[in-house]
Amino acid sequence: MSTPAIRTEKLSKVYLSGFWRIPYTGVEDLDLEVPEGTSFGFIGPNGAGKTTTIKTLMSLQKATGGRAWIHGIPVPDPESRRRVGFLPERPYFYEHLTAGEFLDFYGRLVEVPGAERKRRITRLLDRVDLARFRDVPLGKFSKGMLQRAGLAQALIGEPDLLVLDEPMSGLDPLGRVLVRDLILEERRAGRTVFFSSHVLADVEAICDRVAIVVGGKLRGQGTVPELLGHTVAHVDCVFDGVEEGGEGVEAGAEGVRAAPGGSVHKRLPPEDVDRWLDAVRKAGGSVQSVVPAQRTLEHVLLDEVERARPVNAKRLGVLA
């Protein structure tokens, strides 16, 4: 079995806040495993601990408990970051540098040899659609352009692992497509992409595996089908020849009565569908359509947030 690209074991980060050094848990006992060659989504609500985890992996913060490895090398050994490209959330870069100088600087930091560095800079600027702005200082770039320059910076070392914190944030639809395609290309090239995002539809579309973190704790990880299960979130039904409000159906069931020309549109929980179908038929109506909607990551995440509510309240209560 190959070494995971990222592995954490009971990783914890506790911040000490304010003058009285009140402890606040950022991440608690996080056990994460990101297999090599996968695109891995890291999702959770704001303040869930996504950025804390990423910053700890990138050695920007020190873990207060547990351990982490990147490609089998313990964090924070600088070697653990040797084959990693990182794009932070809302990236800020040296405004005095032009796009070309900026990539040259980061290329030097990851020790890409001179001639190869020049080739990669040209190729990457082209890839993120910034070739025309090679000699423009970053101070004049828009937010979306900076995000794209940041991606080029993360790719300059041709890393085996890309760590992207909210790469879609602040991008227009075209920018989002560019980032999404880039992630897919990297995955196709056999690289590992680990990224956090609030755009769950993109995560669902791009990722092989997903981890959900809520309140600093891991709430689940697996492939997208594993997390979604085979359950149906709800069923959209359209009934003809009936209207709501009729009597005569058994107690507790929804009432419908015959109404020629009438139509009822309902979004039903899966367990209520049979009862409604029976009621409509009994009333002499017809079933126009029954469309089951699969659960999405959004449903899964909302369920996890709901489930974690008491824990979250306790966690935030530390500061209260």
């Binding site: 600088p78 990693v84 990182f86 809302r90 930091l109």
Partner: protein, 255 residues
């Protein structure tokens, strides 16, 4: 080493493109030129006064630049969040800090070099080529600035620029009154004050050991042993301050 150099070059590039630095340099040049006018209002040896004022101007502006650039060295990276992409590269933090310090030092050396060149041209045009003692004094000033910007770098690893500037200015002032501090202690009858002055005198830098400007102006040769001792003192002290800065920087969390 190549990574450290890349950081140094980037720091140097950022500094020389900084508009505030251009302003300080402009005032330094202005001061140098204005010093020529001093001879019109000076009684006595006018040439010495002009040389003294010009050298003093280089020293003052050098100190300002060292503090101004040094205090923002690390803090700016944190505040602008450029530290996230920098510290996440496969480079040990101590290398990053040394690279930044080296870049700052290069900037200072370039600034002092420009001012020394201007001194040669401006003063030389009136008084003939300056003696070697003047360049020795400028070299010693560079050692002083090396030490001063190590302190500013240390402060920038944990304090905001305003606070770090205040700390650095204190070091600069105390450093130039170090001998007086010892004298105060020696003359005091209060044992606590005497002990405090003794400790401060030993711990804080004595920047006056690098000041041979008066000797240069008056053409008095400073013994080589004295200069070498001062250089060894400055080098050793700088190394210790940078070591502390590296430890602080290593332990920092970037939230």
């Amino acid at each position: 080493m190549s990574q450290m150099l890349a950081v140094a070059v980037n720091t140097f590039r950022e500094a020389v493109r900084d508009k505030v630095l251009h302003s300080i340099l402009f005032f330094a040049v202005l001061l140098l030129v204005v010093s020529l006018g001093m001879q019109e209002i000076t009684i006595g040896d006018q040439a010495k006064v002009v040389r003294g004022v010009a050298l003093g101007g280089i020293s003052l502006m050098g100190g300002l630049i060292a503090i101004f650039l040094g205090v923002g060295l690390v803090w700016k990276e944190i505040e602008r969040k450029t530290i996230y992409t920098l510290a996440s590269k496969p480079v040990a933090r101590w290398r990053l800090l040394l690279g930044k310090y080296l870049g700052l030092w290069l900037t200072l050396a370039a600034e002092v070099g420009i001012l020394a060149l201007l001194y040669t041209v401006v003063i030389g045009s009136q008084q003939g080529l300056p003696s070697m003692d003047v360049y020795v004094a400028i070299g010693m000033l560079m050692m002083e600035l090396t030490l001063l910007c190590a302190w500013a770098t240390l402060f920038s690893t944990f304090a905001a620029p305003t606070t770090a500037s205040a700390y650095s200015l204190c070091i600069y002032l105390i450093g130039h009154f170090s001998d007086d501090l010892k004298l105060f202690g020696d003359r005091s009858d209060d044992p606590t004050f005497k002990a405090l002055c003794g400790v401060l005198y030993r711990v804080l830098p004595n920047l006056d050991v690098f000041n041979v400007r008066a000797e240069a102006v008056h053409g008095i040769a400073v013994p080589a042993s004295e200069l070498l001792w001062a250089l060894a003192y400055g080098g050793g002290y700088t190394a210790v301050v940078l070591l502390v800065a590296m430890v602080v920087f290593e332990r920092r969390d970037f939230k």
